[in-house]
Symmetry: C2
Subunit: 569 residues, 2 copies
């Protein structure tokens, strides 16, 4: 017994049997890094691939140093770099929401920088960089965090570095810690911020007039940081969708075991529907909503509800009184009429007439609003469940805007479908359960795909630094054919977007395209999945055995792969 | 590309890469069944272990045939049964909520009955038995369902066979399908029902005057069907707690990555807190509530809230503004004062005075109720969040009782903790997220433990039938030492309980015992887990590799095991 108690004590603090085992998993490296046992930095040279956005001229004017240096040309690895410098001091930080594999980026960086350079961790995120809160990362840290997490090693935050004071603080942190380079691990916004930082730190920072290099690493579980073959997918997407995929698969099996429930499942993913699409391809549920399609076809809320209700009715006619509906988190904002209603609602509530509004009770508020809306919006308004109306009336952020993410879309749709099914045929049994799968998928141990991919992204980012580059995002292409480390000039991704009433440089989010192979595949199969239980259950992600080496289905389809197996090294 | 499309089509309908791979996993068998490649039925003989409950006499009076035949003596396997009969027709059904591993019970049954006997599946559950809806189970079915699911092969339902008409229908089904035996896979209620059925079918059913045998198999993810060393755990518990354990571990890593959220997680388990206890032992969160402890110490809701708030405050003082609180689903009914309030509330609302009640608005209702409650209950009433008050006022089942399970305990506690933290120190940041993990854990692919355990339970149940037994529950003991098939006389488990105003025979639910090694271990470590992040992340359950062979920690502790590794065969 005391043996077991000893064992349990030793398992505390990140030492579960699983965590101890995954630390020993070997990681492959791309050929450009030489041998997996002792990877070396890769050297880079310009490719023939030049990036250009519609706002390229304005970008060149605002990022003169970066654009002059890179020419917006993609760099590709040319083999091992035998002349890498020594004594570099490199900081790494996590930015934005966490994603699985972040630790392996750090591990790849540490490995490629080797004992001759210093790697420092920023705690936490951009805020830590502003505050100058850095600590040296040791080999023991790497041994502890490899193949696990999460961003729990360093933590993360969402601070956007934008004011002069913040930029100057970052400069001070660079000087205080004698930094030669900064690696920013983040999504579209964080990599935009990395581009701005790269330009700001390009030169004149250190005493000798030189600058501090900045390299971005593409992270986001949402999957909306994609650039064709140059960046088939951001890291974290595979793990998140495999975590959600297992849960959805389990729920699907539950529906066919219990034979009496519909489950409405909202999946994390702020805006784009890549997560819902990938999970649908893995699990084959009865209904999958794709926000981009809803927006493109200008679907009304009523038509979405009716479409689901018709599926419920059709299945019921065969005795199938169960099913799963997948809903992307951002759906509401993609329904044109909901967008219109919310906009008019914000205007109505901001109107001087609304002065006595706060004193009204819920019902009076709802009636007041209804009387002032245009007829179409008033009809939509009166069709919404009471708790949604209450939420639309109550919740406003500090800018007076509605926090759409707080609306329980899954419950709203379920309740409206129940009503619609009752209208069509009151004898049809309909009972629903609701889920939101999100936080469970951001910090699980990375899949083999994410573990290998992020380790090689780290090796690539470190190599770019040792190759003297700044203003690039690391990438590894050709993930089914060994992997090729490359570098994407960040300025080549920037466009101008109007946000909060002013022009801002942004990396545009990659949305689901209706004509992409992955979407076309969903469209080709979904009628069959709606008609009958054809689901499959992808199971818990495996780190060992024959089921371990799978890339995301949507990535395989969109990149023209012949199989789901990835191959790095 | 077309190769990939072909592959994706073939993956539909339970043919994911994972599902195809797990079907090939070899399953070990206990020595009593001979060789794993071709397991044979085991024979059984009485052990020296006789079961006795406080109501044994009344049980003997109501179950005369069963008690006379078994003497309430536990049977133990004596090696391979070389004289097993042929030509038996056996039906198997799932009863109650689904649990992982059910398919492997069926596979074990089919394997041990072999080609000389016939196995039929009942669809779905007891309702299917009443309706006589049975189909023959083939070897192809076994190949398809082994190591997967869920109860999705046959479906399940919750019908309790109790009326004369129902018993007669069952008898007709037995005659129609020429059944010699029925295997009931279910929890405490279903096994109680199996005992009743065994007595009813004991004799005089078939033309020759003989009966139909009934064997129970212990299933429930709640873990409340446990009988010391005779039944260390019901099947499905290991898989469910490992599914929840991964999710809780992922969320824990998210808290330490994001550094700003408390997550309040409710875990399925209708009454007992075994699930919460096991998940806590796996993950080591800041706070774990155990219903049985709350009841035993007569904790008030305010004291529970204060205890969590004090942990929030203490961690905040060290800069830790995050954590996880685990909450067993049934908690509310274990808080003595909530039980008292709900009872008084039911009385108050049933009172003739309440005639005009329905016409009141929410606030008026709340005030009406408050004015009629005893002072202590009125105080508690006024401390509850508005939505809980609204729910307590609104939701009544068909018997006029409150559906306690609908109260979002996790949100209620979170909101009350937020208020309490604000009272203690308004500067402490506190933001919370809420989860209910339940349906995700009932139908995932079984862990290696559940897969092997259930297969051997199926072999045991089939062996008992071929050994001519009835009225027993199959079990496999000594799970760390090869496994010993045994049989527990169901009548030896029955007690009398007052339910809905009349005496009923029941198998009492096994609750978490405060003096059990598992609970004592939680108590010994929880202050340390509350003070600092000492969590570990059990990761996704593995079916291959070094992390695959783990039994539940609470089961290992309570059975005095030296390690977490199980050994069957």
């Amino acid at each position: 017994m005391s043996m077991l108690l000893d064992h349990l004590l030793k398992m505390e603090n990140h030492n579960s049997i699983f965590e101890s085992a995954v630390r020993t998993l070997p990681l492959p490296v791309c050929a450009a890094f030489g041998d997996a046992a002792g990877p070396l930095p890769a050297a880079f040279a310009p490719s023939s691939h030049i990036l250009a956005t519609r706002d390229a001229e304005k970008v060149a004017a605002s990022f003169p140093d970066s654009v002059r240096a890179s020419g917006n040309v993609v760099l590709t690895s040319t083999g091992v770099n035998r002349n890498a410098p020594r004594g570099k001091r490199v900081a790494v930080l996590f930015s934005g929401g966490p994603a699985a594999g972040g630790h392996n980026v750090v591990c790849g960086l540490k490995r490629v920088l080797g004992p001759d350079n210093t790697l420092l961790g920023v705690r936490p995120g951009p805020k830590g960089l502003i505050k100058g809160s850095l600590l040296e990362i040791t080999d023991a840290d790497i041994e502890r965090f490899i193949n696990t997490g999460g961003f729990d090693f360093l933590g993360t935050d969402r601070t956007k570095i934008k004011t002069d004071a913040q930029f100057n603080s970052v400069k001070e942190s660079c000087l205080k810690h004698k930094l030669d380079a900064i690696v920013v691990i983040g999504g579209d916004d964080s990599n935009t911020n990395a581009a701005v930082l790269a330009e700001f730190l390009f030169k004149g920072i250190k005493a000798d007039g030189s600058g501090v290099q900045v390299i971005g690493v593409p992270k986001t579980i949402d999957g909306d940081l994609q650039i064709g073959k140059l960046l088939p997918i951001s890291f974290g997407f595979d793990t998140a969708t495999k975590v959600y995929g297992e849960m959805v698969g389990n729920v699907l099996q539950d529906t066919r075991s219990s034979l009496k429930y519909w489950h409405f499942i909202k999946l994390m993913g702020r805006s784009a529907s890549h997560v819902a699409l990938e999970v649908a391809l893995q699990t084959k549920p009865a209904v999958t909503l794709i926000s981009e399609e809803v927006a493109g076809e200008k679907q009304s809320l009523a038509s979405i509800v009716d479409q689901i209700a018709q599926t419920v009715v059709a299945r019921a006619s065969k005795g199938i009184n169960h099913g799963v509906v997948l809903i992307p988190e951002g759906l509401i904002e993609f329904i044109p009429e909901m967008k219109g209603l919310i906009a008019e609602l914000n205007d109505t509530l901001a109107h001087p007439d609304a002065a006595g509004f706060a004193a009204l009770n819920s019902l009076q508020k709802a009636e007041f609003v209804e009387s002032r809306l245009t007829p179409a919006n008033a009809r939509l308004w009166s069709s919404l469940p009471v708790y949604v109306v209450r939420m639309l009336l109550a919740e406003r952020d500090s800018h007076g805007n509605l926090q759409v993410s707080l609306i329980p879309t899954e419950r709203m749709l379920g309740d409206m479908v129940k009503e619609r099914v009752g209208e069509i045929d009151a004898r049809i049994p309909f009972a629903a359960h609701y889920h939101f799968f999100g936080y469970e998928g951001r910090c699980g141990a990375p899949t083999l795909f994410d573990a290998a991919y992020t380790y090689n992204l780290g090796l690539t980012a470190g190599s770019l630094i040792l190759d003297g580059r700044t203003g690039y995002m690391a990438t590894v292409t050709d993930l089914g054919r060994g992997g090729v480390p490359q570098a994407i000039p960040l300025t080549g991704l920037l466009n101008i977007e109007r946000r909060h009433g002013k022009d801002e440089f942004v990396i545009e989010k990659a949305m689901v395209k209706m004509d992409s192979p992955a979407m076309r595949y969903l469209v080709s199969r979904r009628a069959a999945w709606a008609a009958d239980d054809l689901f499959s259950s992808p199971g818990p992600r495996q780190l060992w055995g024959n089921a371990a080496r799978q890339m995301p289905i949507s990535v395989a389809l969109n990149s023209g792969a012949e199989s789901l197996e990835f191959l790095i090294g």
